[in-house]
């Protein structure tokens, strides 16, 4: 059973804001409510400005949590109006946040071997997940991106080993992260896989997992308005017999079992 606990904190203190790559920032806020409740894979819906444009909140996955200190971090890329304004938010100011929202990754595993596959900013929630899972499991990370400077800061992943792939060859394997995963799966049979990243990457991982019959959880993205299941704006197609029912990415997800999702010839 998922305990439903969501908070709206209109004045969370910005503890730090650092640029860590090309258009990539790490933002830390003080928000004990969210830090206490957050599960890997959940997200926070935050306002990038207090004005009416941009109007809506923007969703960001939880990247790091310091439960004792009550701190929550995000790693984000500037892609448009909202993230540009967010990148200008200064330490010592306040942000209006809502969270933790959504249904996170399954973490109740013990003594298992698991693989985490992250592409671009999709690595962010997997860092939090990996740290939680590494307490009781053997975790292997696979991080991919266009270039080293377009990935979240990786130093924080010392809790478990990871392989890197970049399309420009600036770090690790030159190529796609899924190539590394494919090689790994030829030698290893992990108990579970987790993935977050661009849709084509997820589709490729879903196919690999299916062919090897390894359970896979994916974290999806969608355009969101409410973030709490009210507007029905964020839905994605559900696979299988129950396809009349649609999945709300914000509430039923963003994390789903790969077989729940209709990949529709994408893989």
């Amino acid at each position: 059973m998922w305990k439903r606990v969501k908070y709206h904190v209109p004045d969370a203190l910005v503890v730090s804001q650092r640029q860590t790559g090309t258009n990539i920032y790490t933002l830390t806020i003080a928000c004990r409510e969210i830090a206490t409740e957050a599960k890997p894979g959940q997200f926070v819906h935050l306002r990038c400005s207090s004005g009416l444009d941009p109007l809506l909140r923007r969703p960001f996955s939880i990247y790091q949590v310091e439960r004792k200190e009550g701190l929550v971090s995000f790693c984000y890329q500037v892609v448009g109006k909202g993230t540009k304004l967010l990148s200008r938010v200064k330490e010592g100011t306040f942000l209006d946040v809502m969270g933790p929202l959504g249904h996170g990754f399954e973490t109740e595993l013990c003594g298992k071997r698991v693989g985490l596959i992250g592409g671009g900013l999709g690595i962010a929630p997997l860092i939090f997940l990996g740290q939680e899972l590494a307490k009781n499991n053997e975790v292997q990370g696979f991080w991919g991106g266009r270039s080293k400077v377009m990935m979240p800061q990786l130093a924080v992943t010392s809790d478990f080993p990871y392989f890197l792939a970049t399309e420009d060859g600036s770090a690790g394997h030159r190529g796609l992260v899924t190539e590394l995963v494919e090689q790994w799966l030829q030698q290893e049979t992990p108990d579970q896989l987790y993935a977050c990243g661009p849709r084509p990457m997820l589709a490729a991982v879903a196919q690999l997992a299916r062919s090897k019959e390894i359970p896979l959880q994916v974290s999806l993205e969608s355009v969101m308005a409410c973030g709490v299941g009210a507007c029905l704006g964020c839905i994605c197609e559900k696979a299988g017999a129950d396809e009349e029912k649609r999945l709300k990415v914000c509430q039923d997800g963003p994390v789903f079992w790969a077989e729940e999702v209709q990949w529709d010839g994408e893989n």
Partner: protein, 311 residues
Amino acid sequence: MEKIEQVDLSVNLAGLKLKNPVMTASGTCGFGEAYEDFFSPAALGALVVKGVTLQPRKGNPTPRLVETAAGLLNAIGLENPGVETVLAEYLPPLASYNVPVIVNISGNTLEEYGELAARLSTCSVVKGIEVNISCPNVKEGGIAFGSHPATAAKVVRVVKANTDLPVIVKLSPNVTDIVEMALAVEEAGADALSLINTLLGMAIDIKKRQPILANVTGGLSGPAVKPVAVRMVWQVAQRVKIPLIGLGGIVTAADALEFIMAGATAIAVGTGQFVNPRCCVEVIAGLAEYCRANEVKKISELRGVAWNGGK
């Protein structure tokens, strides 16, 4: 001057006694459960739930949303589980909220409107029916009824013939003459009016050189539409005798006051909830605060005060 201790926020909306004039806008709070973690629906004047159709509807493909300057375009396409499931699963739990529930209905035919009204009237939780004649997203439905006074009036007569509950008619702003529409549905027996529904709009992705919404067009809501909505409430309120629910872009109590001063008896918050999940309760508190600060004993005294230039 005497100091006001207790402000009376209650209003009478076509026989429905609301403890305050603040309602949710249909389609922006699901069936009341979505914002439960942020405020209790019991605080509301009334809860207006998601638009319901006779058969389940899958809604439109995605993208269904795109943000525009101070606004939101949506093309949800009336996704809902259908009236049968709504009656069986969604409405009964709302009894515990202790708030009047108003169900918003949409039909493809006059018969469907009639059947929806009849079936919903059997549910004791339902205290009013809001008739959506204006949803611009559903090709064969909404727009055709909402854009002609005579057709709109027919819908109202059918709904009235099938229910004893107060019937609120939600008007589309996408018409040449909003007053003509309002008078036609009042004449047909509407007990109250909601205005406005969303304004038909669209947005184009200049990189892909194609419309952003899968449905091409969508309904515009949010602060961007507020001046249009206030103007329509102002025009209609001075011509009809039935009460009005004003909505469109309300985010703050000041926005709500504009609608009330333009002639609305009650107001609804839609997109504002997406911006601030506690928008409804903050608007309620803000209204009380305004009344106290301005020595207004009853919020209903403010209705239409702007008509005579505030004198």
